[in-house]
Symmetry: C2
Subunit: 234 residues, 2 copies
């Protein structure tokens, strides 16, 4: 691993550690997906193992995160009607006002289902993820029902983006943990995110999209000079 | 079968026949689900077999309708980006302004995916389905992701309804053709349907709901005195 990459990984880890300060014994914690979230899960596992955190339970947003949590001895539960105390998750793009694009890992629907029921929703990432306006770099991932996907793709394209069905490593359709397809919507410009979110949501065949607007309460963004903190204004 | 029931079935068949006047050779037709839609599919199959309709292709909204179409020799295709020419489908509740509640058969998501891409969308039913305002009798069915369903149920309940997970004949969860659960939302009162539709759609975990607003172009409603016709005002 080269020096820049090693430094980046060290940064992600620092952001994850800052987020973990919100996790206390007895809490139910939502586990995110993706590389930065994995640092948080590993550290949580260490604290559980060493008895620093007790009576913790966790809800996993992906099969991969569930497997990691099981390996580490973190007790998993189903999401209940009372939701979770805190979620720690990564972001693909993030603004200082805490709007985000998520889902490049393909777990957006479960991530949003959990995050919408969290008292505290913390996003973590490195400074490459920080943007002035959403859409500067990332496509907006949209999870869709396979039935009629060509028609759904056409309707998404009408919103002014190039729509690319996500593929797996073998060139087949990527299939989410829920059994659905993901269409990546490349706008290549700054988004009017709230308006777009409603338009996407209204298309029959769409299950969920990767715009997480007004949901996060905190963000920790790792930069060379240290971890930048953002919190939602009350 | 008693006389009243026989008369009801004859009425449904008359409504289905009226809808079929919109189907011409060479068209792509969306096949609905449910008992009234089955009359339309059977008559379509007869016309295909006897050569009255040629070069017809059909998109089925449920596995059950697909099986019936195959039995009858109606060629099935996938929904393409260009949509379908005409859909003939049943409704659980229907207003004279052509808003409807659908989905008591559990095929609401595929039905809506097809109907949203139809040039002509015809609802058929008998007069028991006709209401002044949606919500007078039927619950609003909502298809949801199984993951986190208790939290989704709780959020739906916040909208002011009693939410009952749909069960199959054996008392297990009903599972849709898409692999999801259906939660029946009983409001027991007239609905502000457009507002409600947007609120339901915004809940993470919701895939689709059974409110079909501003979608149908025609309705044929069978009554003892004959088939009532309704058409969307241009």
């Amino acid at each position: 691993m080269d020096e820049a990459l090693r430094e980046l990984e060290a940064q992600k880890k620092r952001a994850a550690l800052r987020a973990l300060a919100h996790v206390e014994s007895g809490m139910t914690v939502g586990l995110g997906s993706g590389s930065t979230a994995r640092y948080a899960i590993r550290e949580m596992g260490r604290r559980v193992k060493e008895g620093e955190l007790t009576h913790l339970s966790a809800v996993a947003s992906s099969e991969a995160s569930a497997a990691l949590a099981r390996d580490l001895g973190i007790p998993l539960v189903e999401l209940s009607a009372s939701g979770v105390d805190v979620v720690i998750d990564g972001a693909d793009e993030l603004t200082e006002s805490l709007d985000a694009i998520k889902g490049l890992g393909g777990a957006l629907t479960r991530e949003k289902i959990i995050a919408a029921r969290a008292k505290t929703f913390i996003l973590i990432g490195d400074e490459r993820k920080l943007v002035g306006e959403l859409g500067e770099r990332s496509p907006v991932p949209v999870e869709v029902i396979r039935f009629g996907w060509r028609a759904t793709l056409a309707d998404l394209g009408e919103l002014g983006c190039e729509v690319i069905p996500r593929q797996d490593d073998r060139g087949d359709f990527f299939v989410s943990d829920n059994g659905h397809l993901v269409l990546d919507c490349h706008f290549g410009r700054r988004l009017r995110a709230h308006e777009l979110a409603a338009e996407v949501r209204a298309i029959p065949g769409v299950i969920e999209h990767g715009l997480f607007l007004g949901m996060a309460t905190h963000a920790y963004v790792a930069a060379p000079e240290g971890v930048l903190e953002f919190a939602r204004r009350a």
